[in-house]
């Protein structure tokens, strides 16, 4: 400021307006952000996530605002660390667990298989993605969209293909909102009128003790077999234990309200901040959008077909319509099962029966994620948290080797 001049200052203000470096890509992305806000607000597409994602995208694409996830030191870059270090998705799952009633699943545990069958969408998509030229890690992250689980998709994407985080998250949440549109035609196409009219017998009540032991069992069984998914599944089950134990009311209430809300705000803004023109306006994004639709459709197909199989094997005591709920997207997919069932026979109440595969789908996707982490995730590359990073460990390879060499030379 030593040599202040009116002209120079005016110039500085003009050159530091966003307009000075506004490019086509930015304008397109701002437009896309507005579309997301429109879908969130007026079409009610998962508004709790799409609204802050869209707004984060808007902020990130204002030139020189330093709000993109890559702007070191920026506000949204700070929130983005919570995705990069895999802290926020598990905290969301803590809240999801606190909100979820696994009772219907426990009353009919076989429906877990429907949650497994719906994962077929994940693998059809994976194959499709490899076909379209993505490598295996990328294809896995894209496939998980078929799991219809936002936090799981974000967790896996940030682990296996962070450069695809934005389109994967957007596709996951968009299609989740489209479940009521995507699923019914597929369900009707694959089932007969008679099958859709099948009434299922009432669920048996479940002991509270079983409900309490369940999350512990799931944690031990699944996490022992697929340790990579522990942050997600462990937190989901802890949240559920808060809920069912009956002795941690305070923690349960916080986990399912203000904690999950705070984390949602940070997570969604961070996802939005990764939607920069550079990373989003690519052919890959288009492919992912198409593959995502494929993923949801095939997941539905997988669930319904397996439902038909179960129908056959139980002598017609399972309505195949509950299979589509196996995609998770709780509780929307279960409502779709209810609605399609009621269309065939207005006295057919499938909602509670569909809740079993519905929550099973959450576990199924987490397990699928765990398999991917076992196969492709190199746990050794977990980035240490800042406060414990020793310098030799946090530097780019070149500098790291150089410093190690110096240190070695001086301290033989």
């Amino acid at each position: 400021m030593k040599e202040f001049s009116f002209g120079e200052s005016t110039a500085k203000i003009l050159t530091t307006t966003g307009f000075s470096s506004l490019e086509g890509g930015d304008i397109t992305m701002i437009f896309i952000a507005c579309i997301m806000l429109y879908l969130a607000i007026w079409k009610k597409f998962e508004p709790l996530l799409l609204l802050p994602i869209g707004f984060g995208c808007l902020l990130a694409n204002i030139p020189m605002s330093m709000m993109a996830n890559t702007d070191a030191g920026g506000l949204l870059n700070f929130f983005y660390q919570g995705i990069k270090h895999e802290v926020l998705p598990p905290l969301i799952f803590l809240g999801v667990g606190a909100l979820t009633d696994f009772g219907p699943l426990l009353a009919n545990p076989t429906t877990l298989l429907l949650g497994a069958a719906a994962q077929v969408g994940v693998y059809m998509t994976l194959i499709g993605a490899v076909f379209l030229g993505f490598n295996m890690q990328e294809a896995s992250a894209i496939g998980i969209i078929g799991g219809a689980d936002g936090p799981t998709s974000i967790f896996i994407a940030s682990k296996l293909a962070p450069h695809l985080l934005a389109p994967i998250a957007v596709a996951a949440y968009s299609y989740m909102s489209l479940v009521p549109l995507i699923q019914p035609p597929i369900m009707k196409f694959l089932t007969t009128e008679k099958e859709r009219k099948i009434k299922m017998e009432q669920l048996k009540p479940i002991s509270q003790t079983v409900k309490i032991i369940f999350p512990v069992i799931v944690t031990i069984v699944c996490c022992l077999m697929l340790p990579g998914v522990t942050p997600l599944l462990g937190m989901l089950m802890l949240g559920n234990l808060f809920r069912e134990s009956g002795v941690t009311g305070r923690l349960h209430e916080t986990a399912e309200t203000h904690l999950i809300n705070i984390v949602t705000i940070l997570l969604a803004l961070a996802v939005g901040s990764s939607m920069t023109a550079d990373s989003f306006l690519r052919l890959e994004t288009l492919k992912i959008i198409i593959l995502g639709l494929l993923a949801f459709s095939f997941a539905t197909v997988g669930g319904v077909l397996f439902g038909k199989l179960m129908c056959k094997m139980t002598g017609g005591r399972v309505n195949p319509l509950i299979g589509s709920a196996g995609v998770s997207a709780v509780p929307m997919a279960a409502r779709v099962s209810q609605k399609v069932g009621a269309e065939a026979d207005s006295s057919n109440f499938l909602l509670m029966h569909a809740m079993g595969p519905n929550v099973a789908g959450v576990i199924g996707s987490a397990v699928a994620a765990g398999v991917f982490i076992s196969l492709f995730g190199d746990v050794a590359i977990l980035e240490p948290h800042a406060s414990i990073a020793d310098i030799v460990g946090s530097v780019e390879p070149g500098a790291k080797a150089a410093i190690a060499q110096v240190v070695g030379a001086l301290h033989p």
């Binding site: 194959i127 295996m136 009311g249």
Partner: protein, 88 residues
């Protein structure tokens, strides 16, 4: 390209196998658990609900108060909503 698709198919089959294995183990564990600890009709007041704060008693109170208020304020109950009552 073909090789990688073949690999993808292999990964898929392997993964689905793992998923079904894990979930089948889980199913049998749950079935065992439910058999070992059967549901018993609650002796008096069974494991009550766990909604955010609030308990069922509250809902009743809310209802009563809403009704009273609406009756005496000449308002439809739609015009206001009691969200939360805490017992002192």
């Amino acid at each position: 390209m073909e090789a990688s698709i073949f690999a993808a198919v292999q990964v898929s089959i392997l993964s689905i196998a793992v998923i079904f294995t894990v979930l089948t183990i889980l199913i049998f564990t749950i079935k065992l658990l439910v058999k070992l600890i059967p549901y018993q009709a609650p002796p008096a007041k069974p494991a009550r609900r766990k909604l955010p704060s609030s308990n069922n008693d509250q809902d009743d109170h809310v209802a009563v108060i809403t009704a009273t208020l609406s009756m005496h304020m000449g308002k439809s109950p739609d015009e206001f909503r009691i969200v939360n009552i805490s017992q002192s």
